[in-house]
Amino acid sequence: MMKISLKNLPELYSFIAKKNDLYLPIFKAGQVDFAKWDKDAIVDLNKLKTTKSAKDVFFPQSQDLVRFEVDGKKISIDEPIMPTNKQVIFGVKACDNRSFELLDMAFVEDYPDTFYEMRRANTTIVTLACAKPDEACFCKAYGIDAADPKGDVSTWIVDGYLHWMPNTDKGIELTTEVKDFFELDMDNSAVENQQSEIRAIIDRLPYSNIDLSKFTPDKLLELFNSPKWKALSEACLGCGTCTFVCPTCQCYDVKDFKTKTGVQRFKCWDSCMFADFTKCAHGNTRPSQMQRYRQRFMHKLVYFPSNHDGVYSCVGCGRCVQKCPQMLNIVKVIKTLGEDK
């Protein structure tokens, strides 16, 4: 393992940013989100959770697909601009790191999304252990260890130092490039002590042992037809906040934008919570907010596992728990539907 004094981090950032687009949790307009670093950026590695998840780095809120030119009856397609920049995302927590694996299942299996795939291939992930998980966190329920997040490089902040440990070839490559900024760290005890503290905190968190055992693909119809969805969803405003802060929400729209010289087709985040999401010329398959609400949670807890070897499409980051204006969230759904009878 290696370590670097926290006060030397700006030099490290500056060095990494010479060759890479460097993404860090940056304070801007009242909140901390992953954003491209520059020397004036206010980095906040202490923030437990960025407001939005880290998924933008691979699945940007808006992604240009292709540009068309239209001339009378003729259409021409410009060569798409692919994301070739090398990227480093620094400070990713265990939950968000796990979300990348889930997004891989959604975007890379069958008909791979080439934009996503290229960004994944070009990006080195530096994870950071969560020193103080909060009461909305329930990553443990999904078998995620916030004390030992396995990115390409794992890091821990203890007593004024960032401890650094590469895990993969990409991580070793980055480590080789930046090793001059670090000192050797032969004593693992600081990190190990912190890990024990983190795990002790997590064991005491209210949702850590939430029971997911009722959510299995063979219960699909039983769960779908549960009368409990009505009361659960009644207060839902359909604002879509949960889907926009969620690290695993993957729904998108494909839209055209007329520019001065042509048409730009782009892909952008969408939300299954929006009323017109499934509306088309012959009707709407999910016309009520109850149906849309049910769709979101059934997807995460039943449909996704059914299609991906039982893996839930939730990482327990707790963002929806904290951000829903009506205090509706996946924990409430798990508890209500997971109860006996």
């Binding site: 697909l65 292709v66 068309f68 239209v70 009856k73 003729k74 259409i75 021409s76 397609i77 798409p80 692919m82 959604a106 975007f107 069958d110 008909y111 791979p112 999304d113 080439t114 934009f115 795939e117 693909p217 699909l220 119809l221 779908f224 037809n225 993957q250 729904c251 998108y252 729209d253 494909v254 055209d256 007329k258 042509g262 048409v263 087709r265 892909k267 969408d270 299954c272 999401f277 499934t278 509306k279 088309c280 010329a281 012959h282 709407n284 398959t285 999910r286 149906q291 769709q295 059934m298 997807h299 039943v302 449909y303 059914s306 299609n307």
Partner: protein, 275 residues
């Protein structure tokens, strides 16, 4: 580099036929003048005009047509309104094929087939009906029951009355919802007609049409002794990607775009009733 699935190719509309007051059939080839891609009956393609939008359509021509692809399109939304006002020579974008298609080389082989369609629901069935005509030795007797609001609304009427009715071992039954002065054929709704034509309940049935027609036809077929595993239908839901990612077209854990659009009714019965 792998091709991004959402990026389309360019097609050229080489013929436009007006089928009914609100349905036109568009013939499409690639820029090289050849069929844009191979498909199997029941599969779909995304057509678009940049700046207007992109929409999914079933491919109505048979795969045995080696020269071009056809799409029968009803005017009912932004993209279809635009398509209805274009002229021959117009370029559009096209990507596909998407979906599973009908099991023409497996489950359907050697079977007697009953095709039941309502209105524009004939579009995906025309692909398989013409496929069966071209591979006649592989399939048994064919019965077609097709209905629409009026005789003006029968899609592809010329081909039906000039070709399908003359095909050996083909029985074609046409019906319209309400009497018109120009129609001397059967009048009545498709689900009722299904019970009147004397279907053999050992055949395989394929349905496509408006949800209300599907619902009642399904019930009547079961009354005639058809089992749900003998009945196939094809669904259509809102889609943006057609590759199982945009999140719109799922029915339970199945995506209509890639697991469908063709479903066997017993499989459909195991899914949530949300389609």
């Amino acid at each position: 580099m792998r091709k991004e699935p959402l990026i389309p190719g360019i097609g050229v509309v080489t013929d436009i036929r007006r089928d009914t007051p609100d349905v036109k059939t568009f013939r499409v080839v690639g820029l090289d003048g050849k069929k844009p891609f191979e498909h199997i009956p029941g599969q779909c393609a995304f057509l678009s005009m940049p700046g207007i939008g992109e929409a999914l359509f079933s491919i109505t021509s048979s795969p045995t047509n080696t020269e071009y692809m056809e799409f029968s399109i009803k005017k009912c939304g932004c993209v279809t309104e635009w398509l209805h006002q274009i002229e021959v020579g117009q370029q559009i974008t096209i990507r596909g094929p998407y979906g599973n298609g009908f099991p023409v080389e497996t489950d359907f082989k050697g079977k007697d087939l009953v095709f039941i369609a309502g209105g524009i629901g004939l579009a995906p069935l025309r692909s398989i009906i013409n496929y069966v005509r071209d591979k006649r030795e592989n399939y048994g007797k064919v019965t077609i029951i097709y209905g629409s609001r009026s005789d003006d609304d029968l899609v592809d009427y010329e081909e039906i009355k000039n070709e399908w009715v003359n095909e050996p071992d083909f029985s074609v039954y046409l019906t319209i919802d309400r009497e018109t002065p120009t129609w001397d054929g059967h009048v009545g709704f498709v689900p009722n007609y299904v019970k009147e034509v004397g279907l053999d309940n050992t055949a395989t049935a394929v349905l496509c049409g408006p949800p209300i027609m599907i619902k009642f036809t399904l019930a009547n077929l079961q009354e005639l002794g058809f089992k749900t595993n003998q009945i196939f239908t094809t669904l259509e839901l809102k889609m943006k990607c057609a590759i199982g990612k945009c999140g719109r077209c799922n029915v339970g854990d199945k995506y209509v775009c890639k697991d469908g659009p063709v479903f066997r009714c017993d499989q459909l019965n195991e899914l949530p009733n949300e389609y």
